[in-house]
């Protein structure tokens, strides 16, 4: 449904005077999401995951240079197609609850431009589907809890006829129960036939609802795996970074990994993880591994088998 192939994004910056420098932030990203599928993109801050959402929605700032191909339903997702789909078929569930109109009751909010009794009935049924009580329709945004507000945003997307939804960090600052509820709403959306791209740093929460997980590191997809493969000690995972991420969770050993994530510019011609990798071999510093298919998923690693 959504296919991203070889997507690279860099920002043009002026360094002193008029010398222009391109700072890469995403490098050769390949991803695809089917209808009815929920793909979680997990990564640390600075891995470029939010920019991925912005690139798909056409919301990158002016100085961004974009290469590669994003297609939706088989057609190149260019500016004219975006203008037609954005806010209708293609919806973004934003980070902030501040996107809700503070002066509009939740039910009205979700209605959008639609009017009439039939539309109101639809709101009621969608709210029920996402676990929002009838009273919620009459509440103003400031009366909603974080989880409820997020569910209203998801309902709004669903009522607007969204067939593909991108959720960018929909849960920060929420307590675990509300976060789980908000993510469950996204799962519902996918079960109803929608394609969902969930972008988050919280791998634990994402795993509860995702079908597949793409792990982003230093602007690159290092692995895509089925959600079920994140289990136990993570030995079925393909990439050493995914394994480290899994093992760093408080429940899974709380293992630390020395070093910090490099910027994509620093690792243009080698594996971006080589410097921190426990299984790095000689070739890892010599060239950038391609994203290759492995055991039903994909991995960007020379060594993994």
């Amino acid at each position: 449904m959504l296919e991203i192939a070889g997507l690279s994004v860099s920002f043009g910056q002026y360094v002193g005077g008029f010398r222009r420098r391109d700072i890469p932030v995403l490098n050769d990203v390949d991803l695809d999401v089917d209808a009815g599928e929920l793909l979680a993109v997990v990564g640390s801050s600075g891995s470029g995951k939010s920019l991925l959402a912005h690139a798909v929605m056409g919301l990158l700032p002016e100085n961004a240079v974009v290469r590669g191909r994003i297609s939706y339903g088989g057609r190149t997702l260019d500016e004219s197609l975006l203008r037609k789909l954005r806010g209708r078929e293609l919806a973004l569930v934003p980070q902030g609850v501040s996107y809700l109109d503070p002066l509009l009751r939740a039910g009205k909010q979700a209605l959008g431009r639609q009017r009439g009794l039939a539309a109101k009935k639809r709101v009621r049924s969608v709210f029920r589907r996402f676990g929002l009580a009838e009273q919620a329709e009459e509440m103003y945004p400031h009366q909603l809890s974080g989880g409820m507000a997020r569910k209203v945003l998801v309902s709004t997307a669903a009522l607007g006829g969204a067939r593909f939804v991108i959720a960018d960090e929909p849960t920060p600052g929420m307590e675990p129960e509300s976060a789980a509820e908000a993510l469950q709403a996204l799962r519902e959306l996918a079960d109803g036939g929608c394609g969902v791209l969930l972008i988050t740093h919280d791998i634990e929460a994402a795993l509860k609802v995702a079908d597949r997980v793409a792990v982003l590191y230093a602007g690159e997809v290092v692995e895509t795996a089925a959600a079920g493969e994140f289990e136990g000690t993570g030995k079925v995972l393909r990439h050493p970074y995914s394994r480290a991420l899994w093992q760093a969770l408080p429940a899974n050993g709380f293992r630390a990994l020395p070093g910090v994530q490099p910027s994509p510019a620093e690792t243009a011609s080698c594996c971006s993880f080589a410097a921190r990798c426990p299984i790095a071999a000689q070739e890892c510093a010599a060239g950038k591994p391609p994203l290759r298919k492995l055991r039903g998923g994909a991995v960007r690693c020379w060594v993994a088998e």
């Binding site: 919301l59 260019d78 500016e79």
Partner: protein, 291 residues
């Protein structure tokens, strides 16, 4: 795979960024032009000397010509020279007055925000008082009390123009005071003064600059208005208001150039400062200043 450039941007964030850089360019261009005009004005008023301003009765009442582009007045003085001289004087008064006004606004706004409820109430009351009276009325009163002259006008303009800027500064300072990074600084052991000068003032500087730029044209206009009604400067100081008021008497004698050119010049100066202030406000507005 052949990489193909996908056209994105130009929407949402992209558009805001575009407007931003456009506003910034306009502001820089405006500032340069204004600075050039002011420089020329200053140089011209220095270069003119007394010669052109001396009474020259045979050459009086001359309409605009190549020799006297703005014409001459009833004493044969060159109107171009007088206009430049008058604008230069008005400009200096305006500068001093709006600088003083900005300083008062900064002090009042910060004190209201930082020195407790009583200070806030007193300053708020004063600001309301000055805002509730028409500027010109207060100005006339103050200028009258101060005994006219340059000093009276400057004090008058400074005292009448601070309240709205002070309110803006107060609101910003209140917000900053409760910012996490200000709290953190205080608990790392920094003193109030240290925080005021290192954290608060630098953040408020754009607002103060904008306020100053927007106050400037007001100051000049009010200075012109008060000298026009004869309350300000003695007639031998050719402030723009005095030139205009004297010219009024000759208007019905058909000597249109006496009022037209000085009036236009004043308008131009005021408008360009106004534009610059608006551009500065657009570029430096609080929402932008954090990025």
């Amino acid at each position: 795979m052949k990489a193909e450039t996908v056209a994105v941007g130009g929407l949402g964030i992209g558009m805001a960024a575009g407007r931003y850089s456009q506003g910034r360019r306009r502001m820089v261009v405006g500032a340069i032009m204004l600075a050039a005009a002011l420089g020329a004005l200053g140089l011209a008023s220095l270069a003119i000397g007394d010669e052109a301003l001396r009474t020259n009765l045979p050459a009086r009442h001359l309409p605009p010509s190549w020799q006297h582009p703005f014409g001459t007045d009833w004493l044969g003085r060159d109107m171009l020279a007088r206009t430049l001289e008058g604008l230069w004087l008005s400009l200096r008064i305006g500068l001093a007055a709006s600088l003083a006004g900005t300083a008062i606004a900064a002090a009042a706004g910060l004190s209201a925000a930082l020195y407790g409820r009583t200070a806030d109430r007193i300053i708020g009351w004063l600001a309301d008082l000055f805002l509730s009276l028409p500027h010109l009325v207060t100005l006339i009163l103050i200028a009258f009390v101060c005994g006219g002259g340059l000093q009276g006008i400057m004090i008058g303009v400074a005292l009448t123009h601070w309240p709205s800027l002070a309110r803006l500064i107060r609101a910003e300072a209140l917000q900053l005071r409760s910012a996490d990074f200000v709290h953190a600084s205080r608990r790392l052991g920094r003193s109030r003064w240290w925080i005021l000068s290192r954290h608060l003032l630098p953040h408020l500087l754009p607002q103060l600059m904008t306020g100053f730029l927007l106050m400037f044209p007001h100051a000049i206009l009010h200075e012109a208005a008060i000298t026009f009604i004869g309350l300000g400067l003695p007639p031998d100081q050719p402030a723009i208001g005095i030139i205009l008021s004297e010219s009024m008497r000759y208007l019905n004698a058909g000597m249109w150039w006496l009022a037209l050119f000085p009036g236009l010049a004043l308008l131009l100066l005021v408008r360009s400062f106004d534009r610059l202030g608006e551009a500065a406000r657009a570029v430096w507005s609080p929402r932008r200043s954090h990025h």
